[in-house]
Subunit: 282 residues, 2 copies
């Protein structure tokens, strides 16, 4: 069975390489065709459009920047929907608005095409190592059926519920991560500005209820003013915007998330969108 | 050497009991005198005012609700300053505004009275068990000198810097705890309102960068709608207000902390001030 892989960016390229390594036969497509060259050299077949990929594959993985690109690849001109056979499944591993996941899934379902949303966390290094964390929304049957395929790119593959739930889990994750980064930034800034040694404060509080993975991962780097990017503020903005979209679609209020979003947006507008999020401590 | 202990509330009473258990001779005082009865039965001497306690003791521990009470006990009518001998030390274990710690310490210093701020975290159960975490600001010499005394009430006693730093560390801790609680509340609310199973989402994200002590401690209780108080929203409001006071005294901006404060304040105004903070998930 051939696997289609659409979207060969920073994440998609190493993920598709790991599938080839695991023995899967791939048909790959990227809007900028040159990005497919390396995979074609490794044995992948070059697709000429999403529809072309769909005409050859019963399973199509998408790894794209955001909701509009997923909608376009699935439902647009030359998209998957034009040529996919009934029973085809789209596994969207992009991080997008879950409301859009459900809407795109509903459109595909009209043609008998199934969909799972399976966004990842972990970033480029874990995409390369094949140790991503994948959060899967869709039917439990499809989760079980495609578990091994996803596991070839991941350290953990977890089922979280119906279509859209994968992205809901991812956004819940991002809400906590972004807010915890802001909390650590404010706490350390308060300490420094009020004459306390931030290193001693960090050591004093890390073992208690203030302890977090963000505190241990980011506080030492903030104190060394190490703002080497691992993630970008503009990507947090994208995720927080999707979280707020999903929240507002269900009349949910996220006052802290929206405030964190405003801070990140202000940093981006100040020309710092490509900075590491912990740089907000500045 | 007799130890004065002023403030025998929910925290002060078990803390002073642990000092008696450790063999210290105490002179105790509480504004509501009846609260001293139990300690007098255990062998403590009853003081009639802070000044009376100070006339008998070279070391005075205070455990009071907030800055105004500490100021009053130290500097007010019948206060410590009226009768304390030169070289006396006040160890303030209350959680107060660090700007006030420094100001009170400066006034006491004019009379040759020393001061340390040594606020605690851990709440009533840890006060009873003698396993509080103490964050100490003051001179390193005094930290070393009174380490054993503090350790008789605590699991950990950590030096964080000059006078005021203990409260700065405590407030940094509270900023992170309150904000992390808000983050978990918003993330779980987003998940539930958007049709994901919060338990599966929690399990999916707890091992990653979203992981925190707050997430593991509070999320399961939030999902069970267990809002049995361990801490009270109105105490968070007090700490966040002190954090904002200290921040504004040094022209520091804490936008997320202030937003969390507004949410907690709104809950209190809705008649829920004595609720557990994780109840904001409602």
């Amino acid at each position: 069975m051939k696997i289609g892989f659409i979207g060969l960016g920073i994440m998609g390229k190493p993920m598709s390489k790991n599938l080839i390594k695991a023995g899967y036969e791939l048909v790959v497509y990227n809007k900028t065709q040159a990005k497919a060259d390396e995979l074609v050299e490794l044995g992948a077949i070059r697709g000429t459009s999403p529809a072309d990929v769909a005409s050859q594959c019963g399973v199509i993985i998408t790894m794209l920047p955001n909701s509009p690109q997923v909608r376009d690849v699935c439902l647009g001109e030359g998209g998957v929907i034009e040529s996919a056979a009934e029973g085809t499944i789209v596994i969207d591993m992009s991080s997008i608005d879950p409301v859009e996941s459900k809407a795109i899934g509903a459109k595909l379902a009209e043609k008998g095409i199934e969909m799972m949303d399976a966004p990842v966390s972990g970033g480029e290094p874990k995409a390369i190592d094949g140790t991503l964390s994948v959060m899967v929304g869709g039917t439990k049957e499809n989760f079980d059926k495609y578990y091994d395929l996803l596991k070839a790119m991941a350290g953990s593959v977890v089922y979280v519920g119906e279509l859209g739930s994968g992205n809901v889990a991812k956004l819940a994750n991002q809400v906590i991560v972004a807010t915890n980064i802001a909390a650590v930034s404010e706490a350390l800034t308060l300490a420094v500005k009020n004459g306390a040694d931030p290193e001693l404060v960090y050591q004093a509080i890390r073992g208690g209820l203030a302890g977090s993975t963000v505190l241990d991962a980011k506080a030492p780097m903030m104190m060394e003013h190490n703002f080497k990017p691992g993630f970008r503020i503009e990507l947090h903005i994208k995720d927080l915007q999707n979280a707020l979209n999903a929240a507002h679609a269900t009349a949910t209020s996220l006052p802290i998330t929206s405030q964190v979003m405003e801070i990140m947006q202000a940093r981006k507008n100040a020309g710092c969108g490509t900075e590491e999020p912990r740089a907000i401590v500045k």
